[in-house]
Amino acid sequence: MDLLIQLTLNGLFNGAHFALLAMGFALIFGTTGVVHFAYGPVYAVGAYAIWALAALVGLPFWLAVLLGIAFTAALGVGCYLFIYRPFEISGSPPFVVLVASLGLFIVMKNLIGIVFGTGVKTVDSVAYDVHFVGNAFFTTVQLGQVAAALLVGCGIALFLRASRYGKAIRAMADNREMATVIGIDTTRLSILVFALGSAVSAVAGALVLLRDGLNPNMGFGAVFVAFVAVIVGGVGSLRGAVIAAFLLAFVQSLGMWQIPTEWQNTIVFVVLFGFLLARPSGIVRRA
């Protein structure tokens, strides 16, 4: 019973982490159509930046996080403006943009290793508590993940629903040509979603830094989970991506009840597979 509670809790916390990653990726992919593979390393670089600011420079953690988020947003925008946009302008087919993003992926991933080394990076200046539910436990950082996912989720939902730019983003995701027809500047919006999506990933990165620490390989798992969540959730639906993210986390976590820990990716794959075959349009189908 305690194990079940622990696994459920883990599912919840991991789900929050996945949901953050999926929201950022979904914003970018759903709006611009770019399969932003380098989203993984951008997220990792953001987390390393926060680590460097906190552990090397010695800034207070909250300030390091704020600066790190801004830096990550700028990095995401840089990816768009200097890598993807030139391809868009020259009318390259989508697969060319995808391959470019793969190139960017290995460049950034390995630059992290070169600059920061391959060892695990942790921050020990931030103290946090451990809470118990019976014999199951969780930390304040994990609570923070859930709170961050909730806050960011509600914030994005509100932004998309109520603000002028938010509506424009939904419009562009729905029908890009029609967005141009009504006078929306799609380039400016693409910059905006790359900034937003990357910033969201940096929030996830800050919390993972506290929870597990960082390693240069963290990007692949992140973009993989985010991509799968977006596909399973239904392309173009932020809500679907969040639901799928939690679903993946719970399946993974509860799977551990019977299946050894190491098979996590395999479990994700099986869920993805079942979904693509049974319901190719994802959890939330578009109107």
Partner: protein
Amino acid sequence: MEYLAHILVMVCLYGILATSFNLLIGFGGIFALAHATFYASGAYAAGILGTKLGIGFPLTLLAGVVVTAGLGLLVAFPAMRVGSHYLVVITLALQAITIDVLMNSKPLTGGPDGIAGIPPVSLFGTALTSPVTFLPLAAVMAALCCAVAWRLGASPFGRSLRAMRENEAAAQAVGKNLVRMKLVVFAMSAGLASVAGTLIAHYIAFVNPESFTIEETILILAMVILGGMGNLWGSLAGAAILVLLPEGLKFVHVPGDIADMVRQVIYGVVLIVILRLRPEGLFPETVFRTPTGAARSSVPANGPLSSAVERAGGTPGEVVVSATSLSKHFGGIQAVKDLTIDLKRGEIVGLIGPNGAGKTTAFNLLSGFLRPTGGTILYRGRDVTTLKPHEVVAAGLARSFQDLKLFTKLTVVENILVSLPAQPGDRPLDVYVRPGLVRRADRENVARALEIASFVGLLAKADETAANLSYAEEKLLVIARLLATGADVLLLDEPLSGLDTVTVERICGVIRDLARANKAVCIIEHNLEVIRGVCDEIVFIDEGRVLTKGPPDTLMRDRELAERYFG
């Protein structure tokens, strides 16, 4: 010396990986990002068999190829069901799962530590343990694999793959069985990649999961892109460049622990730069084009109908296709209801009606691209209602598309060649087992394709890439491709739209010739003047139903029909 030999061995192995990956993405246009998985499969097959069962080299190679080709088939099945983004995700997932399996099946794979002590290859009593002794074997195997890949790529089957890559619907419409083609290319590509895996396992006597991550797939992808998609020699060059390029690092004293990462950065940068500057790669695919050579000069320009089109049998006026009460609905929308139409030998039927009347849907039903929700289609008495598009073409009914769907990167003559029926070279087995037959048949086919090109007036452009044609020439090529299928029943979807009067006259002439060759022809057309000039019968469709049919002059005088047509 040992160092140089080692570099060359690596060039050979990556050459195998890049050429085999090129078959899949460059020829087949299948964007599956899991090549490192197939590579790993070969390597671990050798590792496991070599250390656990004491099985030696030629057998490990064979086992690796068989297992990995099977794995390729396994991946191919879901890959065929899903579109491009999904395929990327699925294969990415496969890549992740591979690492999982290798890491976690400790008793078999040794987990993160991998498998050490894999026995070296021994040939003629000597163990090939040093790079210098291994190089000849690597070179021979690479040459062999490249020959196998090249044979396939340069064969009519390879041409069909390139056509499928350009446009899947059009490839089906000229009779290609896409399912079979995808299975074959997946299995071949995977099997060849496993050879590199087996070799590396024996060569360095060690395998571990780290060598087979997504980065490895991206590296092989970079080699293919750099060399040029669809050009197998290019892939060899790409492999050589990307293996050699980072060796320069040796001279700038990069610390050992980051050298590997610097190498990866270089790969990534090369990939992005080549995509920006030369997306078609260093060596474009032109060398794999089918040469027309001497055959071209022996074909007269503007050749006669008789040499291009075989006269269809049967008596003129006989009903060949008889579709009865066809219906089709999409969701709640009834696109076609109770559509009945007969096509007769030697007659031209014009399908007219306002936009959205269901004309193209009717073609899609007749040609097997859509399955009707009700009704039957008989072709010479045989029920063809539920056949797949390529089976319909084989039966003798072919169609063209409103939006042309040419194989744009293929030459004019290749566009026609691909469409010729029953080619021995389209059977992968015959490509290897009966090369003489394949070569002879293809020589004849080239001659035939040239005659067809000549008939429609495209002989002068035979070796031109379809993408460089004028719009009128594109339309002529569509007709040529349709003729090449050898079908008795030809459905032409707006063959004349957007053309100047001279070309309209020319195509009308061709269409009349087809009827003269006893073909049953059906055209969708908006230009009423042309319809009146060409058709023997007009079928007027509105709201998915046949409203009326009859000779053009009678129908066009009908005031009510005119109102409907313009309204």
